[in-house]
């Protein structure tokens, strides 16, 4: 089976600025790919090239078998795209805006009205259908942008920060919507909210300085964390003594002490890379006769991994 999105050696420079450098990846139907990276990393530029807005300086893009260079219009007809900031014609109402987009997307008559009805219901736009878009709140504007992107039920959905500016409930709704659509579509979202990667993405890519630095599942990303499989526990012992004793265990890299705002102290036992120490730690606690009020295994901190990967790049980039 061919991939829905194929990106090969994609590059873009604006004069001497290399916004995107030699990025390659594929997205299959059923995948939700998260584009991660600091601001200015090249996420948006990459999306603008895949959707046919910007001409790549080098490299190839194919969407559903259509090459960006040879069949740009067919390529665009397969994609639903939410550009950064969800631009829309402010003087239009959401319903006339969706009618316009639908017509251009080749929807007509009853079918168009049915689709608008479905999309409006699933995105909860009913209340603002007849208001001018420029008078809507940021959250509603974003939802109008989303509605426009999924109106023609595209095979490929590309969204630049789909939950930016939404409140937590709206964020939750949009994520649920993305998960519902995920089984039949190839979806790419860019975000810098790391929890989003965990909750909706099946794969993730990290871009910084225009380069692709990581590609894998969110699980693999977490596994890169120093804290992956670390054991956090609270015990009825002096923390410093416990820290000393736990540090002596095999496969233990270090033991951190953290005190939270209500005064509870927790020890985090960090394993040597690639090892699992939950059994050692619990055995040790039992044989010592300590009482543990809390024991949990950390899955890893995405923000920490993100920082490590992207700042390494920044210091590496400064040298070249």
């Amino acid at each position: 089976m061919s991939y829905a999105i194929e990106v090969q050696n994609l590059s873009k420079s604006f004069g001497s600025l290399h916004a995107v450098r030699d990025i390659s990846f594929n997205v299959a139907r059923g995948d939700v790919l998260g584009f991660l990276g600091p601001n200015g990393a090249g996420k948006s530029t990459a999306m603008k090239m895949i959707t046919g807005f910007l001409e790549p300086t080098a490299g190839r893009v194919r969407v559903c078998g259509h090459d960006l260079h040879e069949e740009p219009v067919q390529l665009k007809s397969r994609i639903g795209y939410l550009p950064e900031g969800a631009p829309a014609y402010g003087e239009m109402t959401p319903v006339s805006f969706l009618e316009f987009i639908g017509e251009i997307r080749g929807l007509r008559g009853r079918h168009l009205q049915d689709r608008i009805g479905e999309v409006v219901r699933s995105i909860h736009l009913e209340a603002v259908l007849e208001q001018r878009i420029e008078t809507l709140s940021k959250g509603y504007k974003r939802r109008v942008g989303l509605a426009q992107a999924i109106l023609h039920d595209p095979e490929v959905l590309i969204m630049d920060e789909p939950t930016d500016g939404l409140d937590p409930n709206q964020k939750h709704e949009v994520r649920t919507l993305i998960r519902e659509m995920a089984s039949t579509k190839a979806i790419v979202i860019s975000t810098h909210i790391l929890e989003e990667v965990d909750s909706v993405c099946t794969r993730a890519i990290i871009i910084a300085g225009g380069r692709l630095l990581f590609e894998g599942t969110p699980g693999e990303l977490e596994a890169r964390s120093r804290l992956h499989n670390a054991v956090t526990l609270s015990v009825n012992r002096d923390s410093f003594a416990a820290q000393r004793e736990l540090s002596a265990l095999g496969n233990v890299d270090s033991v951190d002490i953290r005190t939270d705002s209500s005064g509870n102290t927790r020890l985090t036992v960090v394993p040597a890379a690639g090892t699992n120490i939950i059994n050692e730690v619990t055995d040790f606690v039992r044989t010592r006769g300590w009482t543990a009020t809390e024991v949990r295994v950390e899955s890893g901190r995405l923000d920490e991994v993100f920082r490590t990967i992207t700042t390494q790049q920044a210091s590496g980039g400064a040298r070249t």
């Binding site: 603008k48 046919g52 807005f53 003087e91 316009f100 251009i104 997307r105």
Partner: protein
Amino acid sequence: MKNILSIFKRELRGYFATPVAYVFIVIFLFLTGIFTFYIGGFFERGQADLEPFFRFHPWLYLFLIPAISMRLWSEERKSGTIELLMTLPVTLGEAVLGKFLAAWCFTAIALALTFPMWITVNYLGNPDNTVILFGYLGSLLMAGGFLAIGSCISALTKNQVIAFVISVVICFLIILSGYSIVLDFFRAWAPQAVVDAISSFSFLTHFDSIKKGVIDARDVLYFGTLIAFWLYANTLVIDMKKAG
């Protein structure tokens, strides 16, 4: 074709969704009235024609058409909707043409609303209505020329004021190249062929002959070529500048 129509309809509705359309039409009608009756001496001439009405159209258009065209692309660029439009399954040519035709149609509506002028002249005398019809056609073609220039210029900048000023200057130069002030300057030393070439670039030269009721294929071709040239340049400018 249907894409051009969709873009055309959206754009044209956009004019009437904001006060822009009404302000423009009222001011256009008001100014044509003033120019025709006070400056053009419509009554004093005692002739049943619309010459004093059409005579001032190039000068009215010089300021009013760039006011229409300045927002065509600069607003799309400023609000980011250009990214939306250019990632829909339409070609650049369709987008440029759809927007241009909407603006042109809008000026046609404004022009058509001057019909009381035509009724007045028919009530007062027996004008040659063919000449008047050609006058309207010529005026519309000229408006198309101004609009194509303005559309191209508005793609150059996100700032509508800059788009307006540059469009006015370019249109002014093109009008001026038919005036004797400019032509006399060249006549003094340049061969007649050069003078003719310069004057043939002017809107005035071509508009004058059409509004006298002489419809020459060359005049129509002039405006057609002018519009096609500037719209083609428009697509190149958008392609070049859309990243910024």
